[in-house]
Symmetry: D3
Subunit: 131 residues, 6 copies
């Protein structure tokens, strides 16, 4: 179903395998998901995207789990079914409990609600909120 | 500019003031922002929305700061200017440092990027991601 | 601020004036708003868009006011500030009372909330909802 | 497929059954759809969301059918497949004829079109539209 | 699965067949896709939509392939699965190579990323960008 | 107004100036826009984002102008006002004529329209469109 198909590890070029190996090593898994296997048709984009994700999603001022929760929040907001499925599991692997998940969804849905109230009521930005 | 205007505390009915008071008490502030003052024209919605926010945004499996980060993430994704302005300050008040903010934005933007790659490449959901 | 500027009636070609006249006659107004004046730089698109709007927004199985409420609902959902401003006034001109407006916004925001809950919880479509 | 699964009536706690009973009584049906069965894993959110929907979607300045049309309009705009399926049937149950449905879709799609024209042409808001 | 079903050529009225014939003649194909067959339940909208598409998508200052690439870009951004599937094939029929497709997706995803950075950082529009 | 403010060249660290210099050299300009000056508070993201843009937006199977048109298409779809302003000028600098701009906007708005028709009518993907 993927537009250009999926490239399995056994069929991948050394260039692509290098990225696959790094993904599995970094994520401590023994498989690569369909997103990377679809993007692998564009090895330059595959590498660039993976390098970006690796740089952004690691521990920092925010911990990896928090970052994964944010990823799920965005995916639910944009209605990306693949992303919701993949990042929900990712978040669970990083420590998201069902209790956290439920609170996450409550916040995400509430935010999408008040976003449209603010827009629909044409609320002007308070001076206190301007830099 | 707000569609129905803003209702200031001094002009508010007891019903609306009751909500304003609760907002200020809960948030430990001495003022109410334009979002609530615009919504106050619909006192039933004002109360319902505030009660929902109060229930959802308090401490739980996720702490209030994490919830506020998620709120900013959604607001940036939907491009709600009022919400970005208001919730950025909210998050700062709850402890978001500039370092956290920058990482938050990196994750939000990255997620919006890979969301469209997944969609555009028509990536099928891996079996491992299905329940 | 408009990308190509605005074409005022006095500066408009006969082709554009014909559309302006039809807009004013149909809407029973004596002025044309900025949306049409901006689009007028593309007279073919101006005419096509106006003809579409005229065909779609008139009375039918749904009355013009209901159609205008739907237009506001979409505009708030997409966060189009121009559209929210313009269509709110349009709806008021067609009979939208403040009470209607408030209920409209309550529904729009609620729908945006449950939309993300359905997505985030990955809810499968019930058989009863399939054709 | 639902992230936490679905809670059937027979397996539900008294707290959840109370909400299920109210949904069925209010909607005059003998079954509960997957959205509620998925959300039931978070009984607090289930109750809050249902109470909100019940308060918002009943008759008022706008009738229930009009409110349901608005719900479909938002769902089509955000591309929420579950919501489109569910609320289309909901609207039909409340009296939406095929003729109404077709006009609804014509308005929703037209609004999404002109929303992007207004944005892309960077149209400034007319003074007549500002409060 | 389509809300009102699909109208096949053999079951179509003369009014609808006229549009089907024009679609096939213009696109040099011997079949009509599900989008048109679903919309055919509203012959007026079918005709209007097809006439709009025909007027907009033909050669002009932009060639048909470029226009189709833009269509895919929008569809990926809004996450419209049907549209991505249909317009990807359309673009391929008009000359989009795999290399072009990959670059298209890289741009679309990058744009969705920087869009949210601009929003989240609340970047003010430079004077040099104002008309 | 930018959340963390803007970093002007004269106040920039050598690390940031290096990126500013590369932007100006690559784009053949003598100034840096607000987007980069806002993002400069996160020098790592500044560099990563610029490197990504430079890699993606250069000539390839698609020429730079086509890529810029796609960028405008996405920005109009997401309603990012900053991005529309900036990339419209960018596209004009790369050769977008007014005629091209008008056709671009016609396609973008049409695509956003049919996207919602496909979703609202719940159109199933044709077999001919599946890989």
């Amino acid at each position: 179903m993927a537009t250009l198909g999926l490239i399995e590890y056994k069929d991948a070029s050394p260039q692509v395998r290098a990225v696959y190996d790094d993904i599995m090593a970094t994520r401590k898994t023994d498989w690569v998901n369909n997103f990377w296997k679809a993007l692998a048709h564009d090895p330059v984009s595959l590498k660039r995207t993976w390098e970006d994700v690796k740089q952004i999603m690691g521990p920092g001022a925010l911990d990896p789990l928090t970052k994964e929760l944010i990823y799920v929040a965005v995916s639910a907001t944009t209605q990306c079914n693949y992303c919701i499925a993949a990042h929900t599991v990712s978040a669970q692997n990083k420590g998201m409990t069902d209790a956290m998940f439920k609170e996450l969804m409550a916040v995400v849905s509430m935010a999408n609600e008040t976003n449209r109230l603010a827009a629909g009521y044409q609320v002007e930005i308070d001076e206190q909120f301007k830099k």
